[in-house]
């Protein structure tokens, strides 16, 4: 695993990809920070939350090449013909991407230090936001790794990853729309339902959809209110995607195609 991890991480810094990502991220985060700093009010949590909404762009860029590039170049043969488990390969690549995202986050740590020196607030809520950042990063990166493994070109994998993360970000909106849809559907005279029942049904639909949103689950962390289930949700879902990726790569061992 370490071999893959080292190579993938180094490859980010051999090509311009890593530098462009770092420059982009430091510009974005710096801009968000300075905006607040100029106003004399700095809430690092707000900055971090804004940054997590950029994952939809950053994560596909970081993860798109992980497997797609190997398939295109024919270098995937190395993983299949050497005594190494495919799961190690998946984990190595995944952790390399996570490490890059952590390196990007150094910017925010610098902002935290500046804030602390300027007499601002770096409190338990700030650290809660840091946890949220990494939880979401882990979840979305695992989705990116998965997307990269099911497509042969980087562009396709980036698009799959982008769309998936976008949908997750919009789950809250989707749930509202779905609930409105259910209400209007059931309200039609065909069903003859009590308003109470309609209300309950649409609420249930909304709740069921919103249940999958990691953003909703982690929204209290920024205030320093921590709960275990969002962590379990993000990490277990990430594990699921990584395992699925592993299974898809392992398919070559038995696939008849």
């Amino acid at each position: 695993m370490l071999a893959i991890y080292k190579r993938e991480l180094a490859s980010y810094f051999r090509s311009p990809v890593g530098y462009v990502a770092m420059a982009l991220f430091s510009f974005l985060s710096g801009f968000l920070f300075i905006n607040q700093y100029g106003d004399g009010m700095v809430n690092i949590s707000t900055e971090i939350m804004s940054l997590t909404s950029f994952f939809v762009v950053i994560i596909p860029v970081i993860t798109m090449g992980l497997f797609a590039e190997d398939k295109k170049r024919g270098t995937e043969v190395i993983f299949y013909t050497n005594p190494i488990s495919m799961f190690e390969v998946v984990l190595g690549k995944f952790f390399a991407a996570i490490t890059l995202i952590a390196i990007l986050f150094i910017n925010v740590f610098i902002h935290m230090i500046i804030t602390a020196f300027s007499g601002g607030v770096v409190n338990v809520g700030t650290w809660g936001s840091v946890i949220v950042y990494f939880c979401l990063a882990i979840l979305f990166t695992s989705i990116g790794v998965f997307a990269s493994s099911i497509s042969d070109t980087q562009i396709v994998s980036a698009i799959i990853c982008f769309v998936t993360i976008l949908v997750i970000q919009l789950l809250k909106t989707v749930s509202t729309l779905a609930s409105a849809g259910v209400t209007s559907l059931l309200s039609s005279s065909v069903f003859k339902l009590e308003p109470d029942a309609i209300n309950r049904a649409s609420n249930n639909v909304a709740n069921a959809i919103a249940w999958f949103s990691p953003f909703t689950k982690t929204q209290d962390f920024r205030y320093g209110v921590f709960s275990i289930s969002p962590l379990v949700f993000c990490l277990s879902m990430a594990l699921l995607f990584l395992f699925l990726t592993y299974r898809i790569l392992e398919k070559k061992r038995w696939s008849q195609k």
Binding site: A3, R14, G74, T75, T81, N82, P83
Partner: protein, 313 residues
Amino acid sequence: MIEITNLVKRYGDIKAVNGISFTVNDGEVLGFLGPNGAGKSTTMNIITGYLSSTSGSVKVNGHDILEEPDLAKKCIGYLPEMPPLYFDMTVLEYLNFICDLKKVPKNERKEQLASILSMVKIVDMADRLIGNLSKGYKQRVGIAQALVGNPDILILDEPTVGLDPNQILEIRKLIRKLAQKHTVILSSHILSEVQAVCDRVVIINKGKVAAIDTITDLSTKLSGSTKLSLSFKGPEKDVVNNLRSIPGVTNVVSVVSNADTSIHQVEITAQSDSKSDVRASVFYTMSKGGWPMLEFRSLDPTLEEIFLSITSA
């Protein structure tokens, strides 16, 4: 030792590999000969664990590739048709990565890499970017990659394809050198290449084994007839008739004939055994007639001819 039993690989209705069985003994160099699309690469990919088989089994040093893949893969160094190279790494970075992957102990690494680099003659290229290397050097890096970890068995898929003649000679020399320490399986669609480096040859066609033979046996089988190509200046009909009358010549076919310059080219098929060589008789016949020979050489048999001669034998 590699034991391959009844290997079948089906893509939909097409059988790329259709029941191949053979054994590779320790220390030998096995040539894997067949035309393009015969199933050579598929078979090699299955042996190395890159592809699955539809049925049949592959055992490497007693380890089944499906059941004990790690143990089997440990014994194999593989150079696929397209060398698996990262173009954004330098040669040394890349080989170090392969060392990491094959878990070569840190203290042996430097020594091993130095010996591999000098063996495949890429010492000067060690710090160059792989993407900037010529095709021949890339192929050598590919071979170096297969050598890392000192595997018992080397599987080289078309190691000379796309190289210039000089590079081909170099690579062949290298393979002969490697054969001293490793069991080598080498695929090729060129007979002479296999003849040049291999002890034994497996000939496959359309996914099936056409023949398994030692090189010496193969030569005898192929020595039943020889083909010669001859260019000369002179009257075509006379020459052909004279050539036909030489004992041992079975057929003479005109290939190129040019009435204006009266320069012609013919192909002579002759029975060849160690007792009589028609080449001397051809020379004397031509000189006696006063027809100058412009070119005279023996022709390598095509694969199709080999299959024909093998199956007819």
